[in-house]
Structures are given as C-alpha cells and as structure tokens.
C-alpha cells in the first residue's frame, strides 16, 4: 500500500471503532458516570467523613484518581476486547484480513478506539467527581495526561490479546472479572498501601495495577506510594511487550485464521 492509502485505511478503521462505541453510548459512556456517582455518594459523602484523611487528603479527594483509573482501565480493555471479538464472532474480521492493510495498522486502529474510549471516560468521570468535590485541583497536568494515555494504550493492547484468544463471550469476561477487577481494587483505588501491615504492603507492591493507580494519583494529587520513574518505565515496558505479542499473534494468524 502507498503511504497515502495506508493513512486512509488507518483513518477508516479508527473512525469505525469510534463510531461503534459512540453509536451505543448508553452502554459505553453512561454506565461509568452512574457507577462512579454511586461510589462518590456512598464512599465519599456518606462513609468518607467517618474514615477521615488518607495520606493527608480528604477521603473523597483521595478516591478521585483511583476511580478515574478504574473506569479508564475497564473502558479501554473492554472496548477492544468486545469490538475485536465481535468482528471475529460476526466473521467481519475477514473484511480486514482480505484487505491489504498491514497487521500493525489493524492493531493501531483498534488501539485508537480503546484509547479514545478510555480518555473520554476519564474526562467524564473527572467531571462527575467535580460535582462531589468542586475544589479539586490537578497537581501535574503533564503527568496526569501522560498516565491517562499510557494506561489506555496498555489496557487496549491487553484487551486485544484477550480477544485474539477468545473463543466465546465467556472468554472475554473471564479476565476482566477474575483478574483485572480484583487487581484494580487491591491496587490502591480506595486506600494507600501505607495503612496495610508490612506483609500485605509488600505483596501489594507486586501488583502492577498499584503502579498505574499511584502514578496517576501523583499526577492528580502529587502523592504516591511508588517510585514514579519506575512506574512509567514499567508501563512503557508493558506497552512494548504487549505490542510485540499482538503483532506476533496477528502475523501468525493465531485465533483469526484457519
């Protein structure tokens, strides 16, 4: 394909992916806003004042970065896993396989969809949080935006790998339900690991999601339980690793070609 044709093909796939989740916005964009509002009402406004300060912040203020990350990770992952598995299930994957688009361009198009949904959800949840905590101020815009972007890319790629191996709708629900959600909840969304006994604190440090949540919290609040350069390096490392895995699987045709 010539460069111009290649660019058009990537724009087309990215646009298709955006159109897909915008078309079903009631399923894709509204639920995180509703769920987060409930978290803020229950844990922020009702229970929060009884908990008191966490790492020197109001509890509701402490929760905001974690809840945004929870929503972003879930959105980016589920967008790509459901979209790519959906085209496999409907055999629409053949439209892409038959076309001259290179595999990296196919991956890029799906990641654009996942990142777009992740970022939009992040912004929506942030605005919802402002209703409950209007005085929130972002400590470091650059780091906040960088982590939002890297997280969306990383979990879009993970969703893609899941979709490649998925053979049924059960397969696309297993990882988010039994792996991702527990790791996010135990990754410091609702608490600082400094309040844990040492053994649990050390175990928590093995949870990669802790680094994602805390780096974002550093960006939004200026407070973190982990080393930021280490966390950023980990995220970039995972992105490179997941990209390599995705391209290997696509080029081999695993899960998509007979």
């Amino acid at each position: 394909m010539e460069t111009k044709e290649l660019i058009w093909s990537i724009i087309t796939l990215s646009e298709k992916e955006l159109r897909r989740f915008m078309r079903i916005w009631v399923q894709t964009l509204v639920p995180p806003a509703v769920t987060t509002s409930l978290y803020f009402v229950i844990f922020g406004s009702l229970i929060g004042p009884r908990i008191g300060a966490m790492d020197g912040f109001d509890y509701i203020q402490f929760m905001i970065p974690g809840l945004i990350m929870l929503a972003v990770i879930t959105a980016a992952y589920s967008n790509v896993v459901s979209s790519f598995y959906g085209v496999k299930f409907q055999r629409a994957i053949e439209e892409l396989l038959i076309s001259p688009m290179p595999t990296w361009a196919i991956l890029f198009g799906y990641v654009v969809g996942g990142v777009a949904r992740g970022v939009i959800i992040g912004v929506i949840v942030f605005f919802v949080s402002l209703i409950f905590y209007p005085n929130f101020e972002i400590a470091n815009y650059g780091l906040t935006i960088l982590v939002l972007f890297l997280t969306s890319v990383m979990f879009s790629l993970m969703g893609f790998i899941n979709a490649i191996y998925a053979d049924s709708f059960d397969d696309i629900a297993v990882i988010p339900t039994f792996v991702l959600t527990p790791l996010i909840y135990l990754g410091g969304v609702f608490y600082s690991i400094n309040i844990l006994p040492e053994i649990w604190r050390n175990i928590s440090l093995a949870n990669p999601l802790l680094y994602v949540v805390n780096t974002f919290r550093e960006g939004m609040l200026g407070a973190s339980d982990v080393s930021i350069p280490l966390a950023l390096a980990m995220m970039i490392g995972f992105i490179i690793l997941f990209t390599a895995i995705c391209l290997y699987l696509l080029n081999k045709g695993i899960g998509i070609r007979k």
């Binding site: 111009k4 044709e5 660019i7 409907q90 439209e95 038959i98 001259p100 070609r257 007979k258």
Partner: protein, 308 residues
C-alpha cells in the same frame, strides 16, 4: 507478464485436526475468464478460496495473483482481489452505506471516491433505498448483494465468488448474474463456486472439479459438456397419450398423460424422433432438457473418482 490472473502450484492444506483438505492442487486461470470451481461439500473449494484470500493459512505450495507471489508481497496481491465469502461477513449493526464505504477505506480509497462508488454499486444491486438501514434488517438476498457491493467497491481485477446466489430468489438471481456477466465482459476475472450447476453451465467458460482435495477435472465447459453420451428431453404434448408408442429405437417414458420423456444417445437425432412421433399422430407442443447436463457429468466424475 503472465497471461494468468491466478496461478496455483502444489497447494496443500492440512488443518489442525489433521484433515487434509487440499492434497497439492495446481490451477491456472486466464485473465478475463469466468471460471467455475465445483465440487461436493468438503471437497476443498472453500479452503482454496480461503487461502487465496488469506482467511486460511496454507500448509504448502504457492499462489500468484496477477504475477504477484502471495509469499513475496501479499498486500499487493490482495489489492487485486475482491471476495464474496460463503457466509455473511460484515457487522450486522452497521448501516449498509457505512459497510461499503468502510470496506473501500480498508483499501486506502478516500471517502469522497468511496461514496460515489458505493452509490453506483448499491443502485446497480437494487440496494440504494436500503443504504441507511442496519445490515441486520436486510433480507437474505439483500445481504448477499451487499456482499457483492462490498467486494467490488475497490474495483478488483479478480473476483472470487463463493456460493454468491445461495438464498437469493430467482428474479434477483438473474439480475445478479446479468450484473456479474457485465463486470466479466468489462475485464474482471471471476472465479465461482456454486451448488447451482446450471448457473455455472450458463455463465462459465472454464471449469475445474475438485474432490477430496484433488482436481479431478480441469477443462473448458464446452469440452466437458461434449462428453455427454446421452441427453434427456421433456416433450409437452398437444393431446393426451394413454400409452407409449412403440418406437423401438428410442428410449421413451410417459411422465403423465401429456408429458413424454425421450432419452437420446449421441448417435440419435431429434429430427428422426419428431418424424417418428408425427407418424404416430403425436404432436409436440414444446420441449426442454430434462435435467441439468452439468449435474449429470459432475456426479459421474465424482463417482468415477470414488471408484463407484
């Protein structure tokens, strides 16, 4: 520059469950041909089409599409191809127009050009008034026509049709064949698999018959049909007939009181039959072939291969 649109050499496919779908087939299809690839279910037709269009990985062998080896430059080879798959392969929740324009985009065609081509194709395939509908609301025949529009939007030089008329009613089928014949006349090479053998007989110039992963016949349609040793005709009679006239040299059967079936060998001619019938006072109102000739040959070839 080769004269072939498609060259297949020693193509093999063994699936993960060890089923050997293709046992090293060779096939050459000339540019501009309307070619039929026929065979019973599970013979290897769809595996062949799948490998050419990259939906299926090959085990061995090589394929050239307009001189471009798929192992050397598959994206280039794929840009020549349009594929109408056997099963519906588009998102059922997208709008008809979006499906066609998106497919064009995957080939790098800008939206303004794609929109124009889409309009043209949807009009020709009687789908223009459905352009804003979600694909899941189309009938079976409309979905198949949408598949054809999608396959043609990037103006391929080689069109693969895997059972294109399955589920399409007779009138629309005729319209589709007129449309495809027109495309073929304008230079597009077409490879067709179908279960409607009379359609292959009517439209294709050359034919290959595949069975159990090997090509059992590869010749021109004309040559193949000339091998028929007998032909049966249905004669609609003017008046009712109670019993078959004694015309010993012809094999005659009475289907009902006004329909006679005559089976003629290569050496027998219709003039003699009509003369004999006239002598017996039997007047023939109209006549047609009893059954599809290609079907008869097809069954025979496949049976011969099986040793029956």
């Amino acid at each position: 520059m080769s004269e072939y649109a498609l060259e297949i050499n020693g193509l093999k496919k063994v699936y993960d469950n060890n089923v050997e779908a293709l046992k090293g087939i060779d096939l050459k299809i000339t540019k501009g041909d309307f070619f039929a690839l026929l065979g019973p279910n599970g013979a290897g037709k769809s595996s062949t089409i799948g490998i050419i269009s990259s939906i299926t990985n090959k085990t061995d062998g090589n394929i050239k599409i307009f001189d471009v080896d798929i192992d050397q430059n598959f994206p280039k080879a794929k840009s020549f191809l349009g594929v109408v798959a056997q099963e519906i392969n588009f998102s059922q929740f997208e709008k008809v127009e979006d499906i066609v324009i998106t497919q064009a985009g995957f080939y790098g065609i800008p939206k303004n050009v794609a929109k124009e081509r889409c309009k043209n194709l949807l009009e020709k395939l009687s789908l223009w008034n459905k352009r804003g509908d979600q694909a899941r609301n189309l009938s079976g025949g409309q979905k198949r026509r949408l598949m054809i529009a999608k396959a043609l939007v990037h103006e391929p030089k080689l069109l693969l049709l895997d059972e294109p008329t399955a589920g399409v009613d007779i009138e629309l089928r005729r319209e589709m064949w007129d449309f495809l014949s027109d495309i073929n006349n304008k230079g597009t090479t077409i490879i067709l698999t179908t279960h409607y053998l009379e359609e292959a007989e009517q439209h294709c110039n050359n034919i290959a018959i595949i069975d159990e992963g090997t090509i059992v016949e590869n010749t021109s349609m004309k040559e193949l049909l000339s091998r028929l040793s007998i032909q049966s005709f249905v004669l609609d009679l003017e008046d009712e007939l109670k019993e078959i006239p004694d015309l010993s040299i012809f094999d005659l059967k009475l289907q009902d009181s006004k329909t006679l079936i005559a089976t003629l060998t290569k050496d027998e001619d219709l003039n003699t039959l009509f003369n004999k019938l006239s002598e017996c006072g039997i007047r023939v109102k109209s006549m047609r072939n009893e059954q599809n000739r290609l079907e008869e040959l097809f069954i025979r070839l496949v049976k011969e291969k099986d040793g029956n």
